[in-house]
């Protein structure tokens, strides 16, 4: 080959030379033009290919931006700020250079310090080194090398300029396969034909290190601290610290591993990145690490005193610093624009599973399992055979754009593919038979029918009117197809299909909504008027029926307990309400639980109906489409249906139990959901029509909820869909749910005795699927918009809340189950299967809870809160690991949705006061799910009319909105759970150091959350009004306020822990003491929660980190906190010196002691000074960490003087220490993430470690003009020598 190319080169040169004789200059220019033009042509081609798929392009752009940001943070900045050790030269590279013939031009891309430029291997070659790191180029320049600064992706060189190109330890820094490929192509571009390209990348298979994932963040050990043991890309193989693997295999990891195939570059890279996992999964890792190493001396303490301890730092691989952090899901590499389209298409298909996050998410959900994702893919592929879409959503969107009835098409297209996969779903089915709940739940639902009936009627009327004949026809077609499938139907299979189809339909709706809002608006406008009229009519008629139904249902609830409908009805209901609910419900065998679940499902139905109406008002196709299905179904299950009168439509929703109408309703609902049809048809004529009807109604409502969710998602998701990350929305939603769940749990507690609930919670926890299920949930965007038209806004709001928190759903479900709430039971099933079910549960809880809350006293609620918190803690202990993972995943998704959430939160915040005064119905800004949740919480608490409860609700809202999280939410619920707060604080510190600036920001957010929690605690104990806090907003000093808040929180926590008896006294002093600066601090610290939340939300990254942290380390932190508290108590009695020593030894303890000391100081009336000192210290910290430390010392001295007690002195010392640490963390956060401020931050370098053959496959598949000459393993790296060949395209 080489000779061949050489020959070509020579011929070319001869040609050029021949031309030169006449006019060298012009010829050369032309040649350059040609070459450049060709290059541009390729580029344009690439761009065109991207443009062909706008959705994919958008997602690619986002992914690209994300990966670029990651590279910037974890590669570029690290190299800019970290000393690169002087490593040796790879012998084979040196040999390669020396083998180059004289006069060769060599370009070392990523030259680093230029060791290969100045090695002198071959004096007859001219080497140009380029690097993206300005600092390293200077180093290389000073050593005499010829260097330039540029990016590997945009090499500023002419085409075919160099005889050899070196890419040593560079390609593995690119975060996505696409970028890696483009980088290699760029390398090949500047290489002349016949030139050689040497690429070395880190190998996954290394002696010294083991990587569980291919995308890892390697801690960068500065040579100083490591005593010349440093990590460099090229040479560190031997010196490099063995990575510590805290990674635990989850379903995701297993899944990814199973899908791995060596030798396939794409698959390997893709496999490493599981869909659910995000690039921020490292946060999760960090959390796990922290949690695992809880008893070890906190690593971050070292970082705080890094300056002092640089020399002391020993290589402790267990140390968090040294831990490589594995990243997940960095890339969605659907297709690289490559001339060979065929290969690309193949790739995309193979990669499809990995590429398409939403399907995998769906797969993760228990019920749907893998088949869903595959079906989605297939359907999408069927629609777009040629085009490879990065995400299913994008495909669906495009499909929607192409055809108005895209949904039908999708379903039809998906049908053929479904059959084989249906078998897989049976696994999920196994859960179903156990579910008896639905039957019971249906009766309970009837209790809430009053509200629902109206909604249903509205929807039905809207549906009929909105229905178009064409749609009906399409639906009929679908029905026929479905009927065919029906033969296959096992109810279980039907379930899975149903869920899949629903998802597809949702996506399609969302896309349609986006694309064709105009037509929708028209239809909706015209339809809305009619609907309103119909509703008024139907409402009057329905309302008359409902009360009777409710009464009957109540009486029947008992009957239902005794009379359990056949498993079929259960299955049907479960099918309708997604498999999630079924799986969760099955675990619970208690009738009480069943009853609760039923109520939850009823409420969910109501909420779903409400949501449907809201959707219709919003002009969403989904609602419309579903409606026609319902109509058709109602007329006759299999018969083609014509849009029935709105009245008939209305009937199904509120269905009188005994009337035949419910059956039709069931059918309608089933029709609404194509997949559901199957299930319904089989069970439609069940002996207990009423139950089944209720179930159907529930399912229908759920479906509607899903639709609504889909719509909301479409609104919210539109942005996210671009990324192809539907999960993001889910993640966003998830955080708030816990609070709502807590609220619901409390309410349920009021209703029912807690003790049985706790038992249920444990069971539910066990039963609950791990995080992946949530991911599936995330697939369903749950954001719901509540329209003013809905009188019963509260219920839908709750539903929205549940939907939002897939992760929290587990926690929530746990809590709820502990409480014994019916809602919890439903939530549990819903959590695995679908967010919708969760939402329903929340709604149900809310609806019943409100009256209960009103009836019950605040004291009762408090007790419930405590119980819930306790249960929550236990739940956390059991499900910490999955929660952490889920949190990490959620965090990723949250980034995209953060902005949306912020908006929603703002609205919510504004709305909140109104809602508190009035019922949630007043809140028309139902668009935001979070708002709904908040409203619900507020409503519940308002009913209680307790200030502290209100404040706690607000806090919960904020925390949930912020998505910081379950822990936070849980914390406020449990006044005594100061341990949790301390844990959160610890997490915050850990994150700050590890994750650097972004994480630090997130910590600030967490601090704010903590503050809110503290406030909650205070309020709970003291009945302290939070209103002033909310009113006061300090946008200027966020950091200071956050720090202050944290301090306050700590104080409060410590006070609570240390002296529960004196909690009220301390809090009163703390909050009320006029002379003290505490109030000022509080005021500063407590800008309106909404403002804080918004600010927090603005920082997406922060949110992510927060999410990951609290969940993972809750238990450990709690334990640690308890230990610390005990120790601190003992230490208080001890001498200051000894204590100081201990503090120095255990800095983590110090952090606690700070809060603890602060509390003590407050008790001693010295809190004023302490607060002042802390404020000063914080300010100084912001300004400069070092100054802050000195001031802290001074402050300590002052503090010591002020308090007469030695304990105070010790406390002050600890406070100062903690302040210093915080200051360091703050400074680190403020500074660039990679840069280590005060030596506290540990730099992590991103690596994509290559499997054996991965790089070769990458080159072979995506870089046509490179021919691999040799591939070998050298020094923990895969080395590939390529030769550029002329590719002749005919």
């Amino acid at each position: 080959m080489f000779s061949k190319h050489e020959h070509r080169l020579l011929t070319k040169q001869l040609a050029v030379a021949a031309g030169i004789n006449s006019n060298y200059e012009t010829v050369s220019i032309e040649s350059s033009l040609v070459s450049s033009a060709s290059g541009i042509g390729n580029r344009d081609k690439d761009k065109d290919t991207k443009d062909n798929n706008n959705n994919t392009a958008l997602s690619n752009n986002e992914a690209n931006g994300r990966s670029a940001a990651l590279e910037r943070a974890y590669v570029h900045d690290v190299y800019e700020n970290c000393e690169e050790p002087v490593g040796g030269i790879r012998p084979k590279v040196a040999q390669f250079l020396s083998s180059l013939e004289a006069g060769s031009l060599v370009c070392d891309v990523g030259c680093g310090n230029g060791r290969y430029l100045t090695a002198g291997c071959n004096p007859l070659i001219h080497s140009i080194g380029v690097d993206r790191c300005c600092r390293l180029t200077k180093v290389a320049r000073n050593s005499g090398a010829e260097v330039a600064i540029c990016d590997n992706l945009e090499l500023p060189f002419r085409d075919e300029s160099f005889d050899a190109v070196l890419s040593l330890a560079v390609i593995h820094h690119f975060a996505t396969t696409e970028r890696r490929v483009s980088a290699i192509r760029e390398l090949a571009r500047v290489l002349r034909i016949g030139g050689r390209l040497v690429i070395t990348v880190w190998a996954l298979e290394q002696k010294s290190r083991r990587f569980e994932s291919q995308d890892v963040l390697i801690p960068w050990q500065s040579p100083k601290s490591k005593n010349m043991i440093t990590t460099s890309d090229d040479e560190d193989d031997d010196d490099f610290l063995p990575p510590y693997h805290a990674y635990t295999y989850t379903e995701d990891s297993i899944h990814s591993n199973s899908s791995r195939s060596q030798g396939d570059g794409d698959s390997s890279s893709l496999s490493s990145s599981s869909p659910s996992d995000t690039c921020y999964s490292f946060v999760r890792r960090a959390l796990q690490k922290l949690a695992g190493g809880g008893k070890k001396s906190p690593w971050f303490l070292d970082s705080w005193n890094s300056k002092d301890t640089k020399n002391d730092s020993s290589l402790d691989y267990e140390d968090a610093k040294d831990l490589p952090i594995e990243l997940r899901r960095l890339e969605d590499f659907d297709d690289i624009p490559e001339p060979l389209s065929s290969s690309a298409g193949l790739k995309s298909r193979s990669l499809g599973s990995i590429l398409n996050p939403p399907p995998k998410q769906i797969v993760r959900s228990r019920s749907s399992v893998p088949s869903l994702g595959a079906e989605m893919k297939q359907s999408s592929q069927a629609l777009h055979e040629s085009t490879a879409h990065s995400s299913i959503t994008s495909t669906v969107l495009s499909a929607a754009n192409n055809t108005t009835a895209s949904i039908c098409q999708v379903s039809s297209s998906s049908t053929p593919s479904r059959r084989p996969k249906l078998i897989k779903q049976k696994q999920s089915i196994t859960d179903d038979p156990e579910f008896p709940f639905d039957e019971n739940s249906s009766y309970k639902h009837l209790v809430h029918n009053d509200m629902r009936a109206q909604l249903l009627r509205k929807q039905s009327s809207l549906n009929e009117e909105l229905m178009a004949e064409s749609r009906i026809r399409e639906k009929e077609r679908i029905r026929k197809k479905i009927q065919k499938q029906m033969s296959l139907n096992e109810t279980f299979l039907c379930r899975s299909l149903f869920t899949k189809r629903l998802q597809v339909i949702r996506e399609g709706f969302t896309t349609k909504l986006k694309t064709s809002t105009g037509s929708l608006e028209r239809v909706t406008k015209s339809g809305l008027v009619k609907i309103m009229q119909n509703i008024s009519k139907s409402a009057s008629s329905n309302t008359g029926n409902y009360p009777t139904e409710s009464s009957t249902t109540i009486s029947r609830n008992c009957e239902n307990k005794t009379n359990k409908n056949g498993p079929i009805s259960r299955k049907l209901s479960s099918n309708n309400s997604y498999e999630r609910s079924c799986s969760t419900v099955t675990s619970h065998g208690d009738e009480v639980e069943k009853m609760r679940r039923e109520s939850g499902s009823d409420s969910s139905k109501d909420s779903s109906l409400q949501s449907d109406t809201s959707i219709e008002s919003e002009d969403s196709f989904a609602s419309v489409i579903y409606i026609p299905n319902k109509k058709s179904d109602t007329l006759s299950n299999k018969m083609p249906t014509v849009p029935t009168s709105p009245l008939t439509m209305i009937m199904p929703c509120p269905t009188p139990i005994h009337s035949p109408a419910p059956v039709t309703n069931h059918r309608q609902f089933s029709a609404a959901c194509e997949s559901t049809r199957f299930t319904f048809d089989a069970p439609t004529k069940i002996d207990k029509i009423e139950k089944s009807q209720q179930l159907y109604v529930n399912s229908n409502k759920k479906i509607i909820d899903q639709e609504c969710i889909g719509k909301k998602q479409s609104t919210v998701m539109l942005q996210s869909t671009k990324n192809g990350m539907q999960t993001k929305i889910n993640t966003i939603i998830t955080p708030p749910t816990p609070t709502a769940l807590n609220a619901t749990a409390t309410s349920t507690m009021m209703k029912k005795a807690s003790p049985p609930m706790s038992r249920i919670t444990r069971q539910t926890i066990k039963d609950l699927p791990p995080i992946p299920k949530f991911k599936k949930n995330s697939g369903f965007p749950i954001v719901r918009r509540i329209t003013s038209s809905h009188s019963n806004i509260i219920v839908p709001k709750l539903m929205s809340l549940e939907i939002f928190n897939p992760e929290t759903d587990d926690l929530d479900s746990d809590l709820d189950s502990s409480d014994g709430d019916e809602d919890e039971d439903e939530e549990d099933p819903s959590s695995p299967d679908s967010i919708d079910s969760v939402i329903n549960a929340l709604q149900s809880t809310n609806s019943p809870t409100e009256p209960l809350l009103n009836n019950t006293e605040s004291a009762g609620t408090k007790q419930q809160n405590v119980v819930a918190s306790d249960q929550f803690i236990s739940n956390n202990s059991k499900s910490v690991a999955p929660l952490v993972e889920a949190a990490a995943e959620v965090a990723n998704k949250l980034e995209n949705t953060v902005e949306m959430i912020i908006r929603e939160q703002e609205q919510e915040i504004t709305i909140m006061p109104n809602t508190s005064s009035t019922n949630t119905d007043d809140i028309d800004t139902s668009n935001n799910i979070i708002i709904n949740e908040n409203d619900i919480n507020l409503n519940v608490k308002l009913t209680n009319q307790q200030h502290h409860q209100l404040s706690s609700n607000n806090n919960h809202r904020i925390t949930t909105n912020i998505s910081n999280n379950n822990n936070n939410n849980n914390n406020p619920n449990s006044d005594n759970s100061s341990d949790n707060i301390g844990n959160c604080r610890e997490h915050l510190v850990d994150f700050a150091e590890k994750l650097s600036a972004q994480l630090l920001k997130e910590l600030d957010n967490e601090a704010a959350n903590k503050n809110s929690f503290d406030e909650d605690d205070n309020e709970d104990h003291l009945n302290y009004g939070i209103d002033p806090y909310v009113r006061k907003i300090n946008g200027d000093i966020k950091n200071l306020s956050i720090l202050r808040d944290e301090l306050r929180e700590r104080r409060l926590l410590l006070a609570n822990l240390s002296s529960k008896t004196s909690h009220e006294m301390e809090q009163q002093q703390f909050c009320n003491t006029p002379p003290t600066t505490i109030q000022e601090l509080e005021e500063d610290d407590s800008p309106p929660l909404s403002a804080k939340i918004q600010s927090h939300l603005s920082q997406n990254s922060n949110l992510i980190s927060n999410l990951g942290t609290p969940q993972s380390s809750v238990k450990k932190q709690q334990q640690k906190i308890n230990d610390f508290i005990l120790e601190e108590n003992e230490e208080n009695e001890e001498d200051e010196s000894s204590r100081a020593d201990e503090d120095s030894s255990s800095r983590s303890r110090i952090s606690f002691s700070l809060s603890y000391n602060a509390c003590n100081n407050n008790c001693n009336n010295t809190h004023d000074t302490a607060l002042l000192l802390q404020e000063d210290s914080f300010e100084e910290n912001d300004n400069s960490s070092s100054l802050g430390l000195q001031q802290m010392k001074q402050n300590l001295l002052k503090n010591i003087k002020y308090p007469g007690n030695k304990l105070n002195d010790s406390n002050n010392n600890s406070n100062t220490n903690s302040c210093d640490s915080w200051a360091n963390s703050n400074t680190a956060s403020l500074d660039s993430p990679s840069v280590s401020v005060g030596g506290s931050a540990t730099h992590h370098v991103y690596h994509h470690v290559f499997r054996e053959g991965e790089l070769d496959a990458l080159i072979n598949k995506h870089v046509n003009n490179l021919h691999i000459v040799s591939s070998y393993y050298e020094r923990a790296s895969w080395c590939v020598v390529c030769e550029k060949v002329q590719v002749w395209t005919i």
Binding site: Q13, V16, A17, I20, N21, N23, Y24, E25, S28, I29, S32, L33, S36, A37, G39, I40, G65, A68, E101, A102, G103, S104, L105, P123, L124, I125, H126, I128, V130, R132, C134, T137, K138, R141, E146, V147, A148, I149, C150, D151, L153, E154, L155, P156, F157, R158, S161, F162, R192
Partner: protein, 124 residues
């Protein structure tokens, strides 16, 4: 930055830039470091050099005696020309200056002898 490097630099990576070559060279500070003359290297490199860029470099540096056109067959044996090229391409260092894209006039600064060819995200 040696002018040999300059001969290969282009701004074609900028979005919508067709050729981006040759870049305009604005030298603020330069220095000369004598290196060993290796005629073989020059002879080998010469075919891949763009003479227009060499002319621009020579003009900007002030080196005279470069023909408007070059005949590779004859010039390879032209020791004087090779020496001039050696001096121009390998001995003259641009310490401070700037490179300017001929199409977009995008300025790439040269500081400490290091051209910064990094592009902003919106330029790619």
């Amino acid at each position: 930055m040696k002018l040999l490097t300059y001969n290969f630099l282009t701004s074609k990576c900028i979005k919508k830039v067709k050729v981006g070559y040759p870049l305009k060279l604005n030298i603020m500070e330069q220095k000369v470091e004598s290196t060993n003359f290796n005629p073989e290297f020059i002879q080998r490199v010469l075919p891949r050099l763009d003479w227009s860029a060499i002319k621009i470099a020579a003009d900007s540096v002030g080196c005279q005696g470069f023909p408007d056109e070059i005949n590779l067959e004859t010039s390879t044996n032209d020791t004087e020309l090779l020496q001039k090229l050696h001096h121009l391409l390998l001995e003259i260092e641009v310490v401070t200056g700037s490179l300017i894209c001929p199409e977009t006039n995008r300025i790439f600064p040269i500081t400490n002898g290091i051209p910064n060819m990094l592009l902003n995200e919106d330029e790619v």
